[in-house]
Structure formats: C-alpha cells, structure tokens
Subunit: 245 residues, 2 copies
Amino acid sequence: MATVDHSLEILAHKLDLHHRLSDDDKQATLHLPQKIRRLEAQSYVLREGDRPERCAILLDGFSVRHKLTGDGSRQILAINVPGDALDFQNMFLQESDHNVQMLTRGVVAEIPMQALQELVLSHSEIGRAILITTLIEASIFREWAVNIGRRDARTRIAHLLCEFAYRLSAQTMRPEELYELPMTQEQLADATGLTAVHVNRVLQALQRDGLIERERRKIRFLSWEGMRDVGDFNPRYLHARDLAA
Amino acid sequence: MATVDHSLEILAHKLDLHHRLSDDDKQATLHLPQKIRRLEAQSYVLREGDRPERCAILLDGFSVRHKLTGDGSRQILAINVPGDALDFQNMFLQESDHNVQMLTRGVVAEIPMQALQELVLSHSEIGRAILITTLIEASIFREWAVNIGRRDARTRIAHLLCEFAYRLSAQTMRPEELYELPMTQEQLADATGLTAVHVNRVLQALQRDGLIERERRKIRFLSWEGMRDVGDFNPRYLHARDLAA
DNA sequence: CGTACGTTTGATCTTTCTCAATAATGGTGG
DNA sequence: CCACCATTATTGAGAAAGATCAAACGTACG
C-alpha cells in the first residue's frame, strides 16, 4: 500500500486558506502524483513561450516571476514563497507569457498538468480555491504596477519591504520585524524598476533615518508604523481578510 | 412570456471566445437578471473598499481600472472595452482593491452578484471561462508592470498604442490602423507612469518620426511594424491564440 | 587563499518632472 | 447657431530624481 507523502500539505493548506476545502478535497490534493525536484539558485522553473506539462509547487525556497524586454532588461513581477503554485496558469492557457526563476536554491513538487486538470474537474471547490488564489495574485500585480508607476524610489523600496514582511507572516497576521531578504540589491532593483546603485542608496537612507537596520540581507524594521507610512503600504490588496481563517 | 434581452450577447460571446460554451451555457448567461444603466464619463462604477452586490458588464463605452496612492496620484491599470466584466473579482473576494471609472459615457448591464454566483455553480464551464478571462487579465497586468518599470517613455507610449490597436480588433486579428483613443493625454500619462506634458512631447516625436498621424484623439499608424518595434510589442501576453476561434 | 559576486562610493549625465503660460477644442446654455 | 467656459493640448525654461560609468571594497565559498 502506498504511503501518503505529505509534501503537498503546504499546497492543500494554502488552498484551504483561500477557500475552505472538505476533507475529501484535501485528501485528493495530497494524493496527486508528484515528483520532488531540487533546484539550484538562478535555475529556471518555466520560460516564456514554454508549454509546460507539469505544474511546480514551491515547497522550499523562493522564486520570482519575471519578464525580459527587447533590450534585455528585466522586470520582476512577483515573489513566490513556499506553498505557492508556480504555474496554475498553464492548466488553462497554452503558452507561458513570463519566466519563473529560483531566487535561492529550493525544492518543488512537480504535478502532471493533466492530473491537476482532472482534480479540478472532479472537485469543483478546488477549482474555486484556485480561482481565488489567481484573483489575489492579480491584485498583487496591480499594486506592483502602482508602486512602480507612481511612487518615488524611497516609497517603492519601503513598500516592497513591507509587503515581504507582511507576507512572510501570513499565519500570525503580524508583520515580521526581522527577516532575511532572499534577493540581491540588483534583484530588488528589477522588482522596483530602479537600478541597483539607487536601491543601495535608498536602503542606506532608510537606515540613516532609523527606519530599518541591515546586516547582510537581514532586514530589521525599527518601526513598523514608520515603514508602513513611508511605504504607503495598505495591505488591503493582499486580501488577507478573505482568507478562511 | 418574457422577451429575451440580447444585451448580454456580448458577454456570452466573449466568454465563449475564452472557453467554448454549450448552447445551454449561453442561454443561461443571456437570461441572467440585469438592469441596464447609462453612465456619464468620469462616473465611478466601483470604488476601492466597496463590497458590491452587483457586477457590471460593460456594453458600450470605455472604462479603466485604477488605484490612487497616498499622495493622490493615480495609476491606471487596465482599459476595459465593451464586453468586459468590470467586477467578476468580487464574486469571490469581499472588498474591492481598486477603482473602476468610466472613460467615456457608456452603458453597463448590472447583474446581481448572487445570480452570477448561482450561474457559476450550476454551469461549471462558465466558471472555467471566467477563470481563463481572469488569467488573461492577470497576464496583461504583468505586461503593464514591465512597460512601466523597464521601458523608456517613447517605448511605453508606443506599446500602449499597439496594445490598443490590437485589442480593438480582436475579431479580425489585424491591428486597427486608425482608431479613436478614448483617453486624454493626462489619462495616457496615468496609464504609463508619466506626466501629461511628457506624453504630449512623446506623441509629437512619434509623429515627427513618421510613425503615426494624429487628429484630435484619432491615431493613425503609418507603419504597424515600425510601431511594433518602437513599442517592443509582442502580443503573446494577450493570449489571443488561446481563444476558441 | 583567490576568485567571482555583491555592495558601496563618487562624479557626471539624462530623462523626465515641475511650473507656468498660452492656444486650441468641444460642450452647453441662451 | 453662436458665444462662453471648462477642459485639454502645447510650448518653454529650469529643476530634480534617478541612471550611468567606473572604481574600490567586502565576503562567501570553492
């Protein structure tokens, strides 16, 4: 008799947060066929133009979604944390329109797209949960566009740091005051539409102003309220209240 | 006996494009209870923080999705064209995270959220079509973030003009060479993260370079390939190939 | 221990913004 | 139909945020 592998627990948990699932739904999720894969930092999970046959669930580590422009510059569009599905989209769309790349080394569970499609067909509540996940992701894309388009460098960086602090503590509902940013300053620049040099100067300014402390990539918020104000951060767009707590 | 109102035809058609619907699905869509409402230019369809009880379908005219920052500046996130559902999102999420505002005067059909929810529950293929619509919208948000974050002003404007030309002709698959832009230069600025003054200068430059002609808000492309290249425009992100043609 | 990568610093340059004034346009009431 | 008013478009001059270039400095890790 097959042993149940609990590596997909984190996915079932996340879906359950977005839309309450029955025990049957959860069991079906846990029993999806999967292959565990270890990935190096910088490796690609998915490339623009791909037509993937498997969907990766991020179990450990961090990845980003990004796109490249014609002249080769990069815009990071989202940061994925453990539990995120990296490619629900291609269950329904043919060609991937962006890249997914590991920020750190990490582990993913790869699920055959077809098995996932069958799961959604036979368990409508799971389809619902996926739709809600997708809607929240879209909301985050919108907030990022606002951040990049209409905020100055200082506000942009502070906003990103706030979002990260907030999302890392989805469970506790209290933003982390100390965390390790899994990105270089260059990646931070690609996420905010700035240059690495300018990101560096802004980080130093935030530190000089007593808002944060830094040690390597560790960020400590000295004042959550201060950072929230500087970053014009209102967590409504994360729709945490819509989670089935 | 009730007469069937065909104003929702455009919605059924769009959903059908995204995921082939059965006749029953289409009929059910057309029979949704609805109230036709005429809206003035600039009027709000939905505000951030609202918990709407009806979902508006845009039947005629143009609207935008936008958000305001703490210091009052505005980022336009998407342009809606007739047939677009302006608020599928709030079928599943409580609070709206952005505004929807009319660009021109127009007409919407308002459908009670609950009727829509029941439709989705009883017609799973419609739920699928809505999910696909949502995924394509999310892809467009991503491309906009790239546009705003990593392209210079000239490229940004050209890209937006290309997208508009392309989307206006979703049927023909050949971008319109002449169309009326339903936005002021200030709105164009809010969509591209620029200022109105700079948008004006860029438009003049595109005209001087023989790429476009303008007369009021009419835009004529003198060279589609030229504009496509200047605007770094690759329509993959619109996922037109995923449409059930 | 050296090497590659990431961070920091300084100087200079460019794009885009800001502010302000003028011109054109369209919609509205008379 | 016309004159008026509000909105939008255009122009110019000057300022500023952020980019670019180049070099030096740290530090993790093989």
